[in-house]
Each structure stands twice: as structure tokens, then as C-alpha cells.
């Protein structure tokens, strides 16, 4: 199939997703798709991702479309340079299909906090697709694209993957260059991938991976990620179930989905063991100190001086420019997080909040290290505590919204690779299971997920 044909087909599918009211795309055009296809078809050799259409979350910079982060403050901003990940994907023959909607600056768990309106769940428009990479998740779930890029700071790919019933893979911190990913929480941010299948996601991840001289936090001292085939059986594999991730009040559908996954793992020959990650219960409060602190600094650059939207306030001076530009350019959730992040770093509070959170982060990471050092190969948990919730359900209570990430954000704090795999449905809504691997052991995690994918029927009701 030529890239030109793929581009036409992709255009039709994106147009349908738009027509269905998903509100998942932010910028795309048939002309841009055709230009991408012409570039790919003109290549003398086929790349590893030849003519693969990829949707890109709109917080990853590209030179041929705007990058707005779904924020008014970046309305119309077109980056004069391109993200390393996108450069690598294009070099492998991929087609950048569209830019996708997200929670503003990736801050949110429902893709309701977008300056361009909320993204709807493809299976139930009254529900949220999860977030913050909700646009990318919804497009893959709706079949508009086979793969899409998202980004994670505290679960923003795995959580919407679970809600939408697709595969979502977060690599180890330092596996994929962050150069060109608009920073939110720099010590947590990872470009991550959605796929219809584990293999689709793995191939895109493999192409993007590897050290980048433009990102000092990529790992030159780790082996490259080589795609590995799904394992036929899982004999000898030890899967740990951290008890803190299976609370007594866990949603029945989610529990049933996980039970089904455990059964499948056993049938493939894996050993299931109980483990404990006692500090994971502090992950959400730890995350909501560290991520906002980093965000408060990362978002200081949106000051209306060099690029983006500018608004000058009544005093007409530079401070007035800053306050009006930032006060009106950022939405409520972003403003809240900047304020919290500023507060926890401010004089007199640093030790009580930021320093304490760093200590707890180290304890959370140590729990994982100990579990893996104790002979566990992979951890299995629910991805989310519930199936997708209704739009508007949590928007007035930021803390309730934060708790939607309770099982995913410990992994970001520990810098580990993890993925969410669709394992079935409850009342028609997808349920996801999460596999967590030791640092830079993505290949193990992907091969086990591939094995599970073959035996689980993800559209089947779990109870």
C-alpha cells in the first residue's frame, strides 16, 4: 500500500472521528497528510514504520502544525523546531497524521481541561476517555489511527488507554528523548505510546528510543530496546501482585478484569506471588507536590514576551503584562497547579513539602526495587480504580480527579516502564490491567503483554 493511499484512508477516518464529535483532533488537514505521504513515497527505501499514520499529542512540537498544549496561551503557536521523537519517526517512514487534544499542558485525568473543549469517550459520549492524552487514546480506540503518541507525567497514557480499551506503553524514564516534549514535570515526563496492539505500540516505541545528545536525562548506558516476539508460554515467570493495589473497595468490574488476567497468566505457566509496596499509598500526594513544583518553573516561560499569546493588563507595565497574559492564558487547573507548585517551593515551606516529597519518592522507588530484587519479574495491578467515569463528575473536586491516577502514578515517581493492556469490559466499558517492569526491562513486559493479548478477549464482558 502506498503512503498516498494510507493518507487518504487516514483522512477519511479522522474526518469521521471529528464528525462523530469525539473532539479528539486539534490540527490536521488532508493537504498536510498528502504532503507527508508524498515525502514517504519519494523515499528510496521503506523504513521500519513505512506509511504508518501516527497521531501526536499536541504537547509534542512539530514544525508543520501548531503545538498549543490545548492552552489559550499557546493558541496558534507553531514550533520552529521538531521533537527528537518525531524526527526519528518521520525518518522511519511514519506519517504524522494529526495533533490531538489533551488536558491543558497535560494536567488532568479526563481531557476535560482543554481550552478546545473536552474529548468524548468513543464508546459512551457522556463519559471521559481519561487523560491527559485523551485525544490520542480516543483516536486509536475509534480506529482512526493504529498508533498515537501521548505523554505521561503521572499515568496520562496508561490511564486513558485503560479507559478506552487500547494498549498504552510508558517506557523507562530516559528511554525516549524528551527534547520537544513540552515540559510539565521534567523528572517524570515520558513520551509514551498508544497502540491497537502491543506489537504496534512496541514498534513505535523502539523507533523513538535511544539516547539523544539534546536530552541530558536520556540513558546512553542502557541497552537499546529490541522488539521481541510475544512469548508462547510464561513458564517460570514470577508475577507479583502488590496488595496495596487491590483494596477491598476496588470496583467489581475492575477486580473481575484482573481476576481474569491472573487466570490467563496462570494458564500460561506464570507463578503469581503476593508482594507489598507499602509506600505506594503516598504516591498521589507525593506526585501532587513534585509535579506542580516542577510545572510551576516549567510554565514560567509562558510570559508573553517571546512567543505565544500576550495580554497587557490595565497598568500597562511588564508585571501587568505577565499577570494578564498568564492569568487569562492558563485555564483553572493549570493555574491551580502553578500556585500549588509555587507554594511548596516558597520560603519556609520547601522542607515540609518539596524535600519531604523527595524522600517519599525515594521510598516509593525503593519498594519497587526491593520487589524486583526479591525475585519478581513483573508486577500486575489494575490500571485504574474504576472504569471510565462521567464527564463533569470530578471537575469540581481536584483531589477526586487526582485519585483516578492512584495506581499509575507510583510508576512515574519510580521512573519505571509499565503498560496498560485491555483485558475485558464491564457493562460495555473497557477494563485495563497494568504490567510494571524493572528499569529498562521493557522487552520482558512487552513480550508478556503480547502473550496475554493472544489469550484475552478484550471486548468480552468480564462478569
Amino acid at each position: 500500500m502506498t503512503a498516498a493511499a494510507v493518507a487518504r484512508e487516514t483522512g477519511i477516518r479522522l474526518a469521521k472521528a471529528d464528525a462523530d464529535g469525539l473532539n479528539a483532533t486539534l490540527h490536521w488537514s488532508q493537504a498536510a497528510l498528502d504532503a507527508e505521504a508524498a515525502r514517504v513515497d519519494a523515499r528510496p527505501a521503506r523504513g521500519a514504520l513505512h506509511a504508518t499514520p501516527i497521531a501526536v499529542k499536541d504537547n509534542i512540537v512539530t514544525t508543520d502544525a501548531p503545538t498549543t498544549c490545548a492552552s489559550r496561551i499557546l493558541d496558534g503557536y507553531v514550533s520552529p523546531y521538531e521533537a527528537t521523537a518525531v524526527v526519528r519517526l518521520r525518518a522511519a517512514g511514519a506519517i504524522m497524521a494529526c495533533k490531538t487534544n489533551l488536558d491543558e499542558f497535560a494536567m488532568g485525568s479526563s481531557t476535560e481541561h482543554s481550552a478546545y473543549g473536552r474529548v468524548k469517550h468513543p464508546l459512551d459520549p457522556s463519559r471521559v476517555p481519561g487523560g491527559s492524552s485523551g485525544g490520542s487514546a480516543a483516536l486509536v480506540a475509534a480506529g482512526a489511527v493504529p498508533v498515537a503518541l501521548g505523554s505521561e507525567t503521572g499515568g496520562s497514557v496508561r490511564q486513558p488507554a485503560s479507559f478506552c480499551g487500547v494498549v498504552g506503553v510508558k517506557p523507562s524514564y530516559g528511554r525516549v528523548s524528551r527534547f520537544g516534549l513540552v515540559a510539565f514535570g521534567s523528572s517524570l515526563d515520558c513520551i509514551s505510546v498508544f497502540g491497537r496492539t502491543v506489537d504496534d505500540a512496541a514498534r513505535v516505541l523502539e523507533t523513538m528510543s535511544g539516547p539523544d545528545p539534546l536530552d541530558a536525562t536520556t540513558r546512553a548506558d542502557r541497552p537499546p530496546l529490541a522488539a521481541s516476539a510475544a512469548r508462547a508460554d510464561l513458564k517460570g515467570l514470577r508475577i507479583g501482585l502488590p496488595k496495596e493495589y487491590f483494596p477491598a473497595d476496588l470496583h467489581g468490574g475492575v477486580r473481575a478484569g484482573l481476576d481474569r488476567t491472573i487466570k490467563a497468566l496462570r494458564s500460561l505457566g506464570a507463578d503469581i506471588k503476593d508482594v507489598s509496596l507499602p509506600y505506594s499509598k503516598y504516591a498521589v500526594p507525593t506526585y501532587y507536590i513534585i509535579a506542580p513544583a516542577e510545572a510551576a518553573a516549567n510554565l514560567a516561560r509562558y510570559d508573553g514576551v517571546r512567543y505565544g499569546r500576550r495580554k497587557v493588563g490595565p497598568d500597562g507595565d511588564i508585571r501587568s503584562l505577565y499577570r494578564a497574559t498568564r492569568g487569562e492564558g492558563f485555564g483553572p487547573e493549570v493555574r491551580r497547579r502553578i500556585l500549588i507548585g509555587t507554594y511548596v517551593l516558597s520560603a519556609g515551606y520547601y522542607d515540609a513539602y518539596y524535600r519531604k516529597a523527595q524522600t517519599v519518592r525515594a521510598l516509593i522507588a525503593r519498594d519497587f526495587q526491593r520487589a524486583f530484587a526479591g525475585g519478581i519479574d513483573l508486577l500486575l495491578t489494575p490500571t485504574t480504580p474504576t472504569p471510565p467515569f462521567k464527564a463533569g463528575e470530578k471537575t469540581d473536586d481536584p483531589v477526586q480527579m487526582y485519585l483516578a491516577d492512584i495506581f499509575v502514578c507510583p510508576v512515574n515517581l519510580a521512573g519505571l516502564p509499565a503498560l496498560s493492556l485491555p483485558v475485558g469490559r464491564d457493562g460495555g466499558l473497557p477494563i485495563g490491567a497494568q504490567l510494571i517492569a524493572p528499569d529498562f526491562e521493557e522487552a520482558r513486559m512487552l513480550s508478556v503483554a503480547g502473550a496475554l493479548e493472544r489469550v484475552l478477549r478484550p471486548t468480552e464482558e468480564v462478569r
Partner: protein, 477 residues
């Protein structure tokens, strides 16, 4: 009752790198505005910093030259504040884990003789851009070419006791940093900047008074003037029974006064925290030792060596080591065979005139060595030697030997008795009255005859050779 002044200085120097601290943009000074900019130093969304290894090397050299202990692990931190010259809304600096700690600068205090001023710390950071207020009506223009250029900040202990002492410390600090080839330390180009902290206390009081910071100091002379003004202000307040309020002041070089910028209550809350874009800076002991080994000889050691090796006075050695280039030139002249004391006198004398104007020594070291030898051999007079030295041909490697240059300029002396006798005879013949008077006992006229011979020879006669010939002729007839 006497007051004691306590001063500490924070000095920023730009490190001599080609590219910026965290990106590959040129760090050159003076290019058209906003041409040396990229996603990183513009603070564009998604851009990330990667540290410049040469900046780290130069900062390490500076630290070692100042006797600091370079830390095996240091941490980049974000210093958060909003200003139009600061693209990211934070400056990447170092805070509680700096590159280097606890060094010292030894220098000559105008009041206390040779003393040491402690260096608390040295850290690396990026510079901000430049703001221009007078170019567009009602607007401030922002040029980010300088944004992201590498700086070392050197913080002194409050060991300085007078404005003049602060100036002497700065002079020595600059000398060391220029020697170590860390920075050109040009205040005019802004590659050395100073903030000063000053407090006063009753003599003998062990506790420090409340300090104030003085900014906007654009020359060493103004550092001294500003500190004098601030000392006088604080003493006057204290004499009047008032307290000092911790604050930041600006020096106005025009009026010689300091004025309040902000008090402590309005001071910034910089919210420092480790920069999550940058893993810790880890420097191995072997690498640090290698940098120490590669340090050039520093001014103090060089001065001592010049005294010991060449028998120079401490004063002459001090003059020669004021800048490394001067000492290097001196040693090159000596290496080319010149007598050291004569070389020192030439280098600190005639040679400095040109060096002060052009920043370089035009005369080739071997030429100066030859010239010094020609003077010693009476081939060229002291007077003529200055003219030979000033000749542009002395800077031209293809111009032949110094003797040839002097000869071509007609500046060699004639000491041949036959030639001298000719001029002597002419002079005696032309001045019969003076010959009479001399012979009648006016012996001091010998000077007149020497002068006449020199004049008649157009300066070529060797004055030392002229006198015996004159005496012989005058007495012989």
C-alpha cells in the same frame, strides 16, 4: 568611637567558551541582536539544556586557581524569578551544592599588608539577556544573544575591611582569573561584574552588623567609591542612633551616591530547587587532578620565581607579573640571551608604552635581547637604543639583525679612535678660544667639547671613547 567596615564581594565572570552554557549557540559578544539564539536559550516549549563541558572545565580551573575544593558531585538548580531578560522564567544556577567550596585569595592590602580573603564558594550558572531602554519610545527591547552564556560566580567571605581593600582584592582576583585563562574579565564588555555586601560594626565587636548589598558597579574604581558612600551612609545612620535595614542599593556613578532599590521585605523568594532536566554534575578525582596539573603558573608563584631566578627586586617582579603576557615577554627576552635586569628595565619601561596602547609587544624578543647587548657593547648609545627600539623594523622578522637595523638607521656609535680623532680635531680647530681657556685651567670645558663632538658626529660618536681622545689632543699640543 571607631567603626569597622566589613565587606564581602560576589563576582560574576564570563567563562571563555565558544558556545553557550547549555546550547550550541555562539557566546560571541557584539553580534546583531537575537542572532545567536536557539530553542534552548529562547526558552521555547520543549527545549532542554545540556551542559557545556568546556565551561565546567574553565570553572574548575578557576576554582583550583583560587585554592577551592572542587566537589565530586554538584547540582544545577533553578532560580525562579520573572524578568524579560530571563527567557525560561528561571536561571539555571547552583545553590546548596555548588561546584567548589572554600578557597582564598592572597593579596596586598593597602592598610594591612599581605592578607588572605576567603572564597566561600564558586558555582557555574547561565547569564541573562540584555535589555535596552533607550531605543524604542515607551518600550524595552530584549536581546537574548547573551542569554545562556556561561558564568562563574565567586563569593568571598566577609574578610575585607575597607573599600580600598575590596578594590585590591578584585585586582588580584582578576589577575588570577586572567592568568588561568578562565575569563577575559573585561568590565567594559560585562565579562566581570561585581555585587558588594557591606556592614559596619563598632571596633572590637565580634558580631556582624546588618548588611546591605550594592549593585550596578561598573568599574573597580566605582566599587571603591560605592563602598565608601555606603560605608559613610551606614556610619552616619548608626552615629545618629538609627538601625540599618537590610536592603539592596544602587550606585549612581554620576552623583557618587547610593539609593535604595528594595528592602528585605520586598526581596525575592527565588524558590531554588534542583533542575530536573540536569542530572548531577559528577567530576572524578583524576579529572580534577588533571585540571590542577594543567593550571598555568599563577601570579604569586611567578613573582617569587622571577625574584629567585633572575635576582630581580620584588617591585620589578611585581610589575612584570601584573599580566601574564608581560612576564612571558620578559622571559622570552631573557631566553634570547638578554641580561635579566636590563631586560626587566626595558620591558617595564619602553616596551610598556606600546603594550598599554595596543595590548601586545611589537618588538621581537630576540631583537630586544640583541639591542640590550648592543648597548652593553657600546655599539648603540642608550639614547639611540630608544630610537632603534621604536623602529617598526624591530617587529619585522625579515628585517635582519638589530645591528643591521641600527646601522641602517645610522644609530650605531663610532668608537674607532681614528674616526673620533677626526671629529675632535675639527672641533678643536673650530673653537680656539675655548681651547685657550681649557689649557688655562678651565677643566670643566671638557663637557662642552664632548657635546660639540657628539653634535658634529650626529650622535654617532661613542661618548666614552671621545673623552680620552679629547684629553690627549688638548694636553698634547
Amino acid at each position: 568611637m571607631a567603626w569597622e567596615t566589613v565587606i564581602g564581594l560576589e563576582v560574576h565572570v564570563q567563562l571563555l567558551t565558544r558556545s553557550k552554557m547549555f546550547c550550541a549557540c555562539s557566546a560571541a559578544f557584539g553580534d546583531p541582536p537575537n542572532t545567536n539564539v536557539c530553542p534552548v536559550c529562547l526558552g521555547l516549549p520543549g527545549a532542554l539544556p545540556v551542559p557545556n563541558g568546556q565551561a565546567i572545565r574553565l570553572a574548575t580551573r578557576a576554582a583550583l586557581a583560587l585554592g577551592c575544593t572542587v566537589q565530586p558531585r554538584s547540582v544545577f538548580a533553578r532560580k525562579n524569578y520573572f524578568y524579560p531578560d530571563l527567557p525560561k522564567g528561571y536561571q539555571i544556577s547552583q545553590f546548596d551544592e555548588p561546584l567548589a567550596l572554600s578557597g582564598a585569595v592572597e593579596f596586598e592590602s593597602p592598610e594591612r599588608g599581605r592578607i588572605r580573603c576567603g572564597v566561600t564558594r564558586l558555582h557555574v550558572e547561565e547569564d541573562a539577556g540584555k535589555l535596552i531602554h533607550d531605543r524604542f519610545p515607551g518600550k524595552t527591547a530584549v536581546d537574548l544573544n547573551r542569554a545562556g552564556t556561561p558564568l562563574a560566580e565567586i563569593v568571598s567571605e566577609p574578610d575585607l575591611r575597607s573599600p580600598a581593600e575590596a578594590r585590591a582584592y578584585l585586582t588580584t582576583l582578576k589577575q588570577i582569573l586572567v592568568y588561568a585563562e578562565v575569563s577575559d574579565c573585561s568590565m567594559e564588555q560585562g565579562s566581570l561584574r561585581v555585587d558588594a555586601n557591606l556592614s559596619v560594626r563598632r571596633s572590637g565587636d565580634p558580631n556582624l552588623g546588618t548588611k546591605c548589598e550594592v549593585k550596578n558597579l561598573n568599574s573597580f574604581a566605582n566599587v571603591e567609591r560605592a563602598l565608601e558612600a555606603e560605608r559613610d551612609r551606614q556610619v552616619a545612620l548608626r552615629e545618629g542612633g538609627q538601625r540599618i535595614v537590610q536592603s539592596t542599593l544602587l550606585f549612581n556613578a554620576g552623583t557618587g551616591q547610593v539609593k535604595l532599590l528594595r528592602s528585605k521585605e520586598e526581596s525575592h523568594d527565588y524558590r531554588y530547587f534542583p533542575d530536573p532536566d540536569l542530572p548531577p554534575l559528577v567530576l572524578g578525582k583524576a579529572w580534577i587532578d588533571e585540571q590542577r596539573g594543567a593550571l598555568p603558573e599563577l601570579p604569586e608563584a611567578k613573582r617569587d620565581r622571577l625574584v629567585a631566578r633572575y635576582g630581580l627586586t620584588a617591585y620589578a617582579a611585581g610589575e612584570l607579573t601584573r599580566e601574564r603576557a608581560i612576564a612571558d615577554y620578559f622571559e622570552a627576552v631573557v631566553a634570547a640571551g638578554a641580561d635579566a635586569r636590563h631586560a626587566a628595565s626595558w620591558v617595564t619601561g619602553d616596551a610598556m608604552t606600546g603594550y598599554n596602547e595596543t595590548g601586545r609587544f611589537a618588538v621581537l624578543p630576540v631583537r630586544l635581547a640583541e639591542l640590550i647587548a648592543l648597548v652593553a657593547e657600546n655599539v648603540v648609545s642608550n639614547q639611540a637604543a630608544k630610537k632603534v627600539f621604536a623602529s617598526p623594523r624591530m617587529a619585522d622578522p625579515s628585517a635582519g639583525s638589530t645591528r643591521a637595523i641600527a646601522e641602517a638607521l645610522g644609530l650605531t656609535q663610532v668608537s674607532d679612535t681614528g674616526a673620533l680623532a677626526g671629529w675632535v680635531d675639527e672641533v678643536l680647530t673650530a673653537n680656539p678660544k675655548e681651547v685657550e681657556r681649557y689649557r688655562a685651567g678651565e677643566a670643566k670645558l671638557i663637557g662642552f667639547f664632548v657635546g660639540q663632538v657628539m653634535k658634529r658626529s650626529q650622535g654617532k660618536a661613542d661618548p666614552k671613547g671621545v673623552q680620552p681622545v679629547l684629553v690627549e689632543r688638548l694636553n698634547g699640543k
